[in-house]
């Protein structure tokens, strides 16, 4: 059992990162920390794709002649997904700046109280 998980250690890391990212997303009070949790959650998924592309003893997908290469397709997917993730983080931060300028707090609890008595 352990040996099966050992030689799939990256997938275990993927599962761990996704879980930690989700935990930060749900549990943290600070809005900026939520966004960081979101980006950790996404990088976990990217690692899943990259490990799927990895070939033991191969080389990176710059093709020069025969040989064992890592597969380029998942890496393209991750490239696009990273940029999408950054775009989302940037927009989220813009939203947080606007919320802060109005309510003066980044803490979700105080935010809820302030909005409740509005």
């Amino acid at each position: 059992m352990i040996e099966a998980y050992a030689n799939r250690y990256t997938y275990v890391l993927v599962a761990a990162l996704v879980a930690i990212g989700l935990y930060i997303l749900i549990a943290s009070q600070n809005l900026v920390k939520k966004i960081i949790g979101l980006s950790i959650f996404q990088t976990g998924i990217f690692l899943f794709f990259i490990t799927a592309a990895f070939v033991e003893g191969g080389s990176s997908p710059v093709i020069d002649g025969e040989g064992l290469y890592a597969s380029p397709l998942p890496q393209v997917i991750v490239l696009t997904a990273i940029v999408v993730g950054v775009a989302l983080t940037a927009v989220a931060l813009a939203l947080i700046v606007r919320i802060y300028s109005e309510y003066g707090t980044l803490d979700e609890e105080t935010l809820r109280e302030v909005r409740a008595d509005e």
Partner: protein, 180 residues
């Protein structure tokens, strides 16, 4: 089998991720998330994905951390009496459940880096490696697939970046990026 470097890198990333979850002071968390993105870039490099590692490095260190800092510069720093956040039990249960579901499926995955059955479907991946240079004249297969075969994805991606800029302007109700 897991290599020494892989194991240590595994621990490093796990430690930084847990630290980001646990710390309460937002600036510390941002710094730790910078370190986390360093580790991820290393892992991508180790898993033979230099393009991705480069993107993670450039965007992780160059853009995200700075934007996070910018957002935080404008906020007041509450002096926290406690460095560690209180664990939120219901969230812990949800994420623990999610983790177990994922771990159950991990056993089904092919072994890391196993070239033999790395692909049940050799058609597509093998095709890129054999014909990328013939079709596009580009040696770097990732760029060939990125801009050539799946050019439309990249078009969508460029639109997402463009949209992020527009969205930031719209959210902060600005007409222009910088004052004329």
């Amino acid at each position: 089998m897991i290599s020494a470097f892989g194991a240590v890198l595994f621990v490093f990333i796990l430690v930084t991720a847990l630290a980001a979850a646990v710390l309460r002071d937002i600036l510390a968390v941002i710094i730790i998330s910078g370190a986390y993105s360093l580790g991820m870039a290393l892992f991508y490099a180790f898993l033979l994905a230099p393009d991705v590692a480069m993107t993670e490095a450039a965007i992780g260190a160059g853009v995200t951390t700075l934007l996070l800092l910018l957002t935080v510069t404008r906020t007041v720093r509450q002096d926290h009496n406690r460095a560690i956040e209180r664990p939120n039990v219901p969230a812990l249960l949800v994420c623990g459940g999610f983790l177990i579901v994922l771990l159950m499926t991990v056993a089904e995955f092919p072994v890391v880096g196993d070239p033999a059955i790395a692909w049940d479907n050799p058609a597509i991946t093998q095709y890129y490696i054999d014909n990328a240079y013939k079709d596009t004249g580009v040696k770097n297969a990732v760029t060939a697939v990125l801009a050539g075969y799946r050019g439309f994805d990249t078009f969508g991606e460029a639109m997402v970046v463009f949209l992020a800029g527009m969205a930031a302007l719209l959210v902060l109700k600005r007409g222009v990026f910088t004052n004329e």
